[in-house]
Symmetry: C3
Subunit: 142 residues, 3 copies
């Protein structure tokens, strides 16, 4: 029986601020290739509270629709207590993060991420300024 391995890696990239939707799928698959793991899960996690991770069909229409939806559910401008206290105007970023969540866990088999044909791992930037971002990739597998 093969031994289970635990491996942590990082992806680093820059964003253009709120509304940016970044496809991480190929970068996650590339790290998986390097690790030569065949079966298990990778948890993609953003250490920060103004961005989120999920999966979506990464195509130009939805890249517009998703930020419009977030604006409808959690508008940038509202009488947020966070903004009154800190004056940094990004309460909406924090709330969108809490709703979407900081992580997404993807299984893999035969060394390939198990994703639908039209399903990509996406990083959602919610902060109101461009940011340098880091995503932790936490692999458990054989």
């Amino acid at each position: 029986m093969e031994k289970v391995k635990i491996e942590n890696r990082e992806l680093r990239f820059s964003t253009h601020g709120d509304g940016d939707v970044i496809d991480l799928t190929n970068r996650v698959q590339k790290v998986l290739d390097e690790l030569k793991l065949t079966k298990g899960t990778v948890t993609c996690f953003v250490p920060g509270s103004t961005a989120g991770l999920t999966t979506i069909e990464y195509e130009p229409g939805l890249k517009k629709d998703l930020p419009i939806l977030m604006e409808k559910l959690i508008p940038k401008r509202s009488n947020y207590h966070h903004n009154a206290t800190w004056g940094d105007g990004n309460a909406f970023s924090h709330l969108r993060h809490a709703l979407i969540g900081p992580s997404v866990t993807i299984p893999f088999s035969d060394g390939k991420l198990i994703l639908g044909t039209w399903q990509q791992i996406v990083f959602l930037e919610f902060d109101n300024t461009p940011r340098k971002r880091k995503v932790i990739l936490q692999f458990i597998g054989i």
Copy 2:
């Protein structure tokens, strides 16, 4: 010390299209029984971008309330860019998927899923037509 095992399995089933809420709890527990794992987690994951997984009390009232909520938050009909591009009319399905997420991770102990008495693992169909679906069960445990 027992050795950690990594096991991938699949559930397959058909849905009636958007609004379908399917209880997977017993099927996941049955696979866990077959694997004879006692302690760890199972990640339930949908490879596809027009459905979701979460937990809920699976009872007739909430089976109606949850689709009504999704329709309120993300209506079927709206001027979505995805629909303008692709003409398939299921932008709402993709957006509901992005909001709910593709997976749910459940711990287990003594060979039993650790769930509340009134808590079931549910598959939420968001697509606008009946679908044949597959859910990946990714077990890590001893």
Copy 3:
């Protein structure tokens, strides 16, 4: 090579009912310290269907903003089918749980949870009465 370990633990605490936001970060880190694991993930999971787990900057402003957001998205009072059937008036609690999800998975490295500086693990009470709560901590690591 070190051996992977699977460890389940519990946190127990009381809540004041809907709107309570409880920071679990230090308690999760303390259990991690006791387990002396260095690298892996912890899945925090609520066995119950009227509360949720996510991460947020735990500060007084957002502690008010988040329950206000939940009330906007899923109001306490509405014509829910669940309430008509059961008469317990907490359909909104169940729906908020389904939206936020029952778990959050956090990676760790060098024995420390990998969180942003302003990012805490929070338990969100959605039920309409004070509750005694249990959160499962499911660790996989070396």
